[in-house]
Amino acid sequence: MVTENNVPAFSQFIKNGKISALPKAGWLCTYTPEEIIIANGFWPVRITGRQKAKKAEGYFPINFCPFIKSSMEDLLASGDELSAVIVTNSCDGMRRFYDIASKYIPDLPFFMLDVPRNQNEFAVRYFANNILKMSAFLETISGRKMLLPDLTSAQEICNEKRLLLKKLSNFFRNDQKVIGARNYFNILITSMTEEPGCFNTDLRSYLEYIESQSRHNQETPAIESGDVGSRQIPEIMILGNFIDEERLWEIFDELDCKISADDLCSSSRYFENIIQSGNFSNIFGRKQELPNGEISIDRLLRDIAVRQLFKPQCMRMANLNGKLEEINKNIVKNKIKGIIYISQKFCDNTLLFYPLLREKLNDKNIPSLFIEIEHNNLSVGQIKTRIQAFLEII
């Protein structure tokens, strides 16, 4: 695939991916701190539900998250590819996924990371303690202890990835046709599955290439944001949960619209916010530094906990008003004209948030389109028609 201005897709640009010998640890939710996985000597691989659920159907009821069923299918087929899996209690479905997977795939070690729903000092300290337990779990598998240099190095790798993805996101928002929606969302998924150090190198090269292409094309008359000639391209926001559907993103490439903001488990909620030294102190006004100014693992864990809990929220978090404010800021900053709300079927947290959001959007006169999809079972034609009609409204 080649986007406009002849920029190749990332997957074509990086033809010879490096192979890593590191053992892999699977993870599912963006509240999982990858830095802990890396610091313990593992390659963090997000489980993305690539396989269509078949055997997995026998383990779960019919009206159950299709993404979880596909993820179970992935694990059933994974053999000894993974050394461990980290699950979080992000929702009722995930809790049961942990139970089912750990019982019926007994040779694969699982860990349940308890993620708080509140964002206060109690919650941060509690979460930091849980992250330490997660590290202890990985240590028993790796057979070695996580040291401070491991953690600081892992933190740097993860922060770099987040900054690079943020840069990519800015490129995408400024000139969607150069990157392409399908390419953009594919890169995001790749960022969650490829070995982080290698990915950072590859994405850095790709971004440098795109930058150089952009400079080369600066002779072309600048296109005002949202305009093609006299025609206004609607600026929309995509909001939802874990969406990994190439054919869905292709629809956006085919239609005239601009995704000016995206808020998904598979996009900005993964990379927004970096870990900053003193996060905990800054937010809660508590001095953490040791007398001689050294940092400690405990302090780093608290900073990681803060980063995780204060990044763009998933709809499972308690501060729903905060989430509405987050979305509102995006709407104002990016001049959003409409929101496309995409949810996996049977996702209670996301589905129950929509009535709240819709009411808020009605107050602001912003139309929204609600789309429910089934992971790995997309009705492309129907959805394209609905999105087209929605774009015509806005």
């Binding site: 009206n63 349940m112 509690y126 303690n129 429910e372």
Partner: protein, 469 residues
Amino acid sequence: MGIAENIKENLKLKIQNNLDRNYIRNILRIIGKRPVLAAYGATFSSRSDKYLNIATIKSISCSYNPKNTVAYGSLFLPYEMFHALDLAPFLPEVMGGFTGGLGIADRTLKEASARWYTPDLCTFHRSASGAVELDIFPVPNFLICSNLACDAAQKTFYMDAKKFGLEDNYYLIDTPYDNDESSIKYLAAQLESVSVDICRKSGKKLDIRKFKKAIKLSNEFRQWAIKASDIRKELCMYPKGFDGLNFILPFHGLAGTKDAVDVYKTMYFELNGFLKKQKRGNIKNTGIRRIGSGGRTSVNNVNSININNSNPSSGNGNAGSDKVKKILWLHLKPYYNNNLFNLLENNNYKVVFEEISNVYWPVLDPEKPFESLAIKMLSHPLNGSVQNRVNAILKMAKDFNVDGVIMFAHWGCRHSNGGARIIKDSLKEQDIPMLLLDGDCLNKNNSSEGQMLTRLQGFMEIVDARYQY
């Protein structure tokens, strides 16, 4: 139809035709008056039922009284805290269940759908949300919820808070996954913080003595509930209309009050009376399970008189069907009129215990109220891993010596139904058959009674076949 049933039906019709908070308040004001309540209570043949209905009406009346400070609460919160804070509790999920029994669930669910609540969501929450939007439920002063046992309350309560302009009086008590020291500390801190904040907003000081009193009463209620459960381990004949699945409100919402003590004390004495009658009549529940059906060959060999129900057996020709088969019921039941329990009764099946009546928590320490209430929440089998629930179910199945387990797979209840496979397999390892009955507790349009009855019949045939004379 008995007098009590007639009164209930009339009330039901009145409410159906006057779906309005003020009307409900007026009705409750009338029937909540002591003489009227006493007269209503006298119409019940079962004392347990009587006290259940009286306590329920009293509690609901309190929540509709605008002079009281009302707090919405999600089901598995420690209500000792509510009573210690002088809050009149109102449990939307439980009252959502009442909408099914009152025949108004169609309307509340329709209202929820009109407000973009997807039909894939649990009907308890959807119906409750619809009832709030229709101004049927009382106006709260506070809303307190938890993620125990599911995700839904967190959102629906927040939306209710928004409707009433009470976002600042909305509290989510975040229940940790594990039951360990750090979880107890985290949870206890939240309970204390919420209590302090509510007191501040109510213009009161936190009175730890009230907490101690509520916990002492809770311990007393717990003791009677365990005694009543112990009776049920042997009991095969029950008062007419007794249904343990109807006692959700006193068991949860009235914990920490004298009313809960009275309900369960009454239940204990009534059931104890029936047990004595059962023993005096030398009525034993005999029956020999077929050798080879898992090695369980428990035999009551004291006496050989079988309990013969006045209704004939299902006529499948198996003499084992004369024995009363004991069933453990998991989750809840359809609250609209249905024939499931008639079918069970007509075939000598008795629900001898239900998961919702299980005393899962230890004796609480009144000297450490917040820590105790945290321990109570974390002890709940529905918290954390499904293995907690499995352990509780296996213990109940063993203690009550059940012949089978029925799990009602309520539509949209993902935390429960998601664990069904593990629960069924664990029971199978103990040679206990389990029926997973798909249905909807509130929405009869989302449930096929015919299918459920057929599946139930098939299950009974399997259980019947395990007995021989």
